[in-house]
């Protein structure tokens, strides 16, 4: 088997004195969707921030395609093929849809034709964005903004996509649409690390999952196994 595209080993991070991640280990292989589950404050977003370099782990190892990235600044990690859609979307509301997409392709520099290819791919995935390409991003609906955030992340042609709560604050119908899109992106060959509160939907989509509890991995395994696991069903799927 080839080397995993993403590997974390014994990662510890701190916010000031607060020990946020207490030794996280996980692996994502090429072509997989891996779900990262857990309650609020369990460390899901923190894990993504550590991977993309927005937060520097105090201890542990993070490897992207076999290469250690601990201590590398976030803007360089982007060039290794990691694209992070931060929590709360962080789209640029005063810029147009197209300008937001251009920003996603910042790391491609002046490769105009490549940028246009990626833009066409994003528009094919989200026709709504093409209809509104000159509209200010701040005037889009919540679902459209999420599409834009995902589209922007795809513009850099990443090897792995880190998605933080794509269903956050969306209506159930839109949540389904977003998850369908995530599956579609994955079937086109994209590796995805998905952070979700919506555990059931995420596990149905994923190949495997990790359950975080207060900064440590409490459970890990293939998605079907987690879906069937009694503790998961009780804690995260709301079953008695």
């Amino acid at each position: 088997m080839t080397e995993p595209i993403l590997q974390l080993h014994d990662v510890h991070t701190y916010y000031g004195h607060i020990h946020a991640l207490k030794g996280i280990a996980l692996e994502v292989n090429e072509g997989e969707i891996v779900a990262l589950l857990g309650a609020n404050g369990a460390g899901k977003s923190t894990t993504l921030r550590a991977i993309s370099g927005l937060l520097r782990p105090r201890q542990g190892e993070i490897k992207i395609a076999g290469r250690s990235v601990v201590g590398m600044p976030a803007h360089q990690i982007v060039y290794l093929g990691v694209s992070h859609t931060p929590e709360g979307r962080k789209i640029f509301s005063a810029l147009s849809v197209n300008e937001n997409l251009n920003m996603g392709a910042y790391s491609l520099g002046r490769a105009k034709s490549a940028i246009e290819t990626h833009r066409r791919r994003v528009f094919k995935l989200f026709p709504r964005l093409e209809e509104r390409k000159n509209q200010l991003a701040g005037t889009l609906s919540g679902g459209e903004q999420q599409m834009l955030a995902i589209g922007r992340a795809l513009m850099s042609d990443p090897k792995i996509l880190l998605l933080d709560e794509p269903s956050l604050g969306l209506a159930p119908l839109l949540v389904k649409a977003i998850f369908d899109t995530v599956r579609e992106i994955n079937q086109a060959g994209m590796t995805i690390l998905l952070v979700e509160q919506n555990a059931r939907a995420a596990l149905k989509l994923a190949n495997k999952g990790y359950v975080l509890e207060t900064g440590s991995i409490a459970l890990a395994g293939p998605a079907e196994q987690l879906l069937a696991d009694e503790r998961v069903r009780k804690a995260y799927l709301g079953e008695q």
Partner: protein, 327 residues
């Protein structure tokens, strides 16, 4: 008033620029030397404010020490000219580069800090520069009296002596600076500044080296202040530490904010309000600080994005407002 400004702003930018340039070129035919000197002075402030526009308007950083870089440019060219007989035209690039390098050295260690800390450090830097000049550092700045007998700029045997010649000289630099600043705004670097200004974290996550692009803004803005200092010193031929006083930095900052942060036409409007009007109405001059204060308060209430806001900044402000009202 609102409608009128909106309609004026819809006129294509290029027409405005060409019309303004034509008027500026013809000014010496109709204006007397006093008014030309006022416009020359205004041109110097336009250069200073364009530099600050890169830092404050494009990159969104606070800089309250622009006058220090102005003084550094003026003193560098003067010291080279007086003690080493270096002609102004050769001292000019040295002064510009030195101002840029000092801009880098001052900003680099603190660029990761939030805006208000940057403001404090740049104020402190400005005061340090002024005090060094007053205290005759290395015995070459002339202390509180400053330096005198600086040559005029001359190139290929032509010397810029008269006010008309110097007026055109400053106009030339203003035009090429505007051209350059416009090009920057639309470049990849300009987009990076927009991303950094809007959301630094997201910019970083998209591959923008945020510290690097902020440092470039600082270097370019400081270098332009250095250029303004050179042009000032070479016409007036006498300079003093007063060039670098804090009030000058505040005036330059006010020009940028009053005119509309990040807007080039706004720089001209701001300069008109902050420099030309007080000079023309000398009676009111004693009241200037009070009037400027009043104008600033009224602006924040009625036109928070400035007299002639840049399209982008106006949108950012209204987006913030929407967010605030929906939150």
């Amino acid at each position: 008033m609102h409608d009128l400004m909106a309609r004026i702003q819809r006129i294509p930018y290029l027409y405005w620029a060409l019309a303004a340039l034509a008027v500026a070129l013809l000014c010496p035919l109709v204006l007397d030397n006093y008014l030309l000197a006022v416009l020359w002075q205004a041109g110097i402030y336009v250069l200073l404010a364009l530099g600050l526009t890169i830092i404050v308007g494009y990159a969104g950083l606070f800089q309250l020490g622009q006058a220090a870089f102005y003084a550094i440019g003026a003193y560098t060219v003067a010291i080279l000219n007086i003690y080493l007989d270096v002609p102004i035209i050769l001292g000019m690039p040295v002064a510009i580069v030195l101002a840029g390098v000092l801009g880098y050295l001052v900003s680099r260690p603190i660029l990761h800090l939030r805006g208000d800390y940057l403001a404090i450090v740049t104020i402190a830097f400005g005061e340090i520069v002024r005090m060094l000049l007053v205290n005759n550092v290395f015995g070459i700045t002339g202390g509180a009296n400053g330096l005198s007998d600086i040559d005029n700029l001359s190139i290929f045997g032509f010397t810029f002596n008269t006010i008309i010649e110097n007026y055109y000289l400053v106009l030339f630099f203003v035009v090429i600076t505007i051209f350059g600043v416009r090009r920057l705004e639309d470049s990849r670097l300009g987009r990076a500044w927009t991303y950094v200004r809007e959301d630094e974290l997201a910019a970083e996550a998209m591959g923008v080296n945020t510290v690097h692009v902020k440092a470039i803004a600082f270097v370019l803005g400081s270098a332009l202040a250095g250029l303004a200092g050179v042009l000032y010193a070479s016409r007036i031929s006498v300079i003093s530490p007063e060039l670098g006083r804090f009030l000058e930095s505040v005036i330059i900052f006010c020009i940028v904010v009053l005119g509309g942060t990040g807007s080039i036409p706004g720089v001209f409007l701001g300069t008109f309000g902050m420099v030309v009007l007080p000079e023309l109405f000398r009676v009111v001059r004693d009241w200037r600080d009070g009037l400027v204060g009043l104008a600033m308060v009224l602006m924040m209430i009625f036109r928070p994005a400035g007299l002639w806001p840049s399209r982008r900044v106006a949108e950012e402000l209204s987006a913030d407002e929407q967010e605030a009202s929906t939150a």
